[in-house]
Symmetry: C2
């Protein structure tokens, strides 16, 4: 899956900004890939891009219309179909992270076929993978792991990529979820592959590379989440990270969607090392990323300082502040340079 | 998936007994479900059942023809198609564990449709599962786990079911692989489900039950296998076993299909408890099942005795000898009775 850029972001007529979070994520991290947004009457989301028609977007070079909004249930509202067909007729590819496959809608399938355009259902994986081999590959890898789902693993990985490049390192974000795939233009929704091939898909995602090249792999789930730990473990084994960053949301009481309490950060560090050693005996934790959005500035700063001291590791909020302290440790540890 | 019984076992014209191991497994464990076998000229496998034509099998009450043989690559040889169509025309359902879907072959799909018969591709899962919830369910569960793949987890689980029933316990084998599904007539090939739903599928497989009822869950892979540990962990979390048995093959040097050495039995016990506690804090090991087929009788006996002493647990070969020592411990531990 390699999605042609730049994008026109289709927001439809969603009722709030949260429903456009896929589009927001793309704008936050890849503004240079976004020529504009397209909104239908009644849309209450705004990604701050120029409002364009499909023809205007095409004139500005757009290659793909990304359906960057979700309806309840991930379904595609009938009223959006005409816009998607129009985009295909205008020569754009179309990408979505919806639950429904674009090609399962006859009008869309026909428009794609007759115009020779590609449909990207990034929630589904059409690729065939080998089973994981577990053999050490050249190149460096860093994985974001979490105390829970939805604690900032994708944003942390993207912030690491940006800051590592700023520090002069060769670093590439490797997407493992649908929004990440749209943000990076490639990758695999790892939770959508057949169970036998989780680690094999992860090996495919971050293959052998130059010895000083970093793959920054977006983590999924948590080793402590009873719904998704299998995905997390297969991804850990396949990614065989040299380094990992623990992501955490300090105000959450139970894990997302279940009754289980959150594990401690120390538990996650220890368990990730124990399990990760199977495919990379050198695995180590290089930092902690805390999502402090529910704390005021004083509380956030105190939380980061206390967490850093408790674990003797750099601790940052990658969105509110910067991941530079973690990247400084990476540079010092793996590239023999002091920041 | 609930496969109608009894079965006619179709062996085709395979060159050796190993190619008929699915059929052999069914005969070993469910002889009462097998009305006979059907062999084509040149077949060198024999499951010791009466050789029947499809009409004869139908007359003896057969409901499903099980393709219990595999060709190299799991493909369906063209010359078997006529036999499958004949079975459908005679009113039998057809089940296989091949890589190819029966319904993808037009002649077979058409015969099934026109005769109103069912096609079971047990390697594939057509079911839609919920994500795992991790909530403790009533009922008792025992899982077989392994130091590696293919060390006897299925046979151990089936032997436990048999011996537990003999001891007066309510016990049901729960299949998680294709051969197990054919042996039990139901279940799910857990490695074929979408990664997000591994633990959810396991929860579906062994749902809430009577407080003293045992589900005997067939394990898959190994927590220490770099290709499949994600499947193993998701199955462990979803099965939430009260008890587990470690399966081991003492002469194997590296894990199946990869370069990794086998973990020790003690490692597997410890890791299974650490991970299994997430969904069942009471998890404990109740025995060790060693596949001693590569040892002579003296060496086998010594191996079992030494392993039992080293771990202070009953240690058996479930095929060569008996799992009774493990069941005795289960009865004493969970049902308050001495053997």
């Amino acid at each position: 899956m390699d999605i042609a850029k730049p994008y026109l972001l289709f927001l439809g007529d969603v009722r709030d900004q949260l429903a456009a979070k896929t589009a927001s994520g793309i704008v936050d991290w890849r503004p240079e890939w976004c020529v504009g947004q397209m909104r239908l009457p009644g849309c209450r989301a705004d990604c701050g891009l120029p409002d364009l028609t499909i023809a205007e977007a095409r004139a500005r070079g757009a290659q793909t219309m990304v359906v960057g909004a979700v309806n309840a249930g991930g379904v595609l509202p009938d009223r959006w179909i005409a816009n998607i067909v129009e985009a295909l007729n205008a020569g754009l590819d179309v990408a979505t992270g919806l639950h429904v496959r674009l090609a399962s809608i006859p009008a869309i399938a026909e428009a794609a076929r007759s115009n020779g355009r590609r449909l990207h259902d990034v929630r589904f994986s059409e690729l065939t993978f080998a089973t994981g081999k577990g053999t050490k590959r050249p190149g460096l890898r860093i994985l974001t792991v979490g105390t829970d789902c939805s604690v900032g693993k994708k944003y942390t990985a993207l912030a690491l990529e940006r800051e590592m490049r700023k520090a002069g390192l060769a670093a590439d974000f490797r997407a493992t979820g649908q929004t990440g795939v749209l943000i990076s233009g490639r990758g695999v929704a790892i939770d959508a592959v057949i169970a036998d091939f989780i680690s094999g898909a992860a090996e495919w995602l971050c293959p052998a590379n130059e010895p000083d090249h970093w793959d920054v792999v977006e983590g999924q789930g948590s080793l402590f989440h009873p719904s998704f730990a299998g995905v997390t473990l297969g991804l850990l084994h396949g990614a065989q990270p040299d380094a990992f960053v623990v992501c955490h949301e300090p105000t959450r009481k139970t894990m997302r969607g279940v009754q289980h309490p959150l594990p401690s950060i120390a538990d996650v560090i220890d368990r990730t090392i124990v399990e990760g050693r199977l495919t990379n005996p050198a695995i180590r934790c290089v930092g902690i990323a805390v999502n402090t959005q529910n704390l005021d500035d004083t509380a956030a700063q105190r939380c980061l300082e206390e967490t850093a001291a408790a674990h003797s590791l750099p601790c940052v909020d990658p969105v509110r502040y910067s991941v530079k302290p973690i990247v400084d440790l990476i540079v010092a540890t793996y590239h023999g340079q002091n920041a």
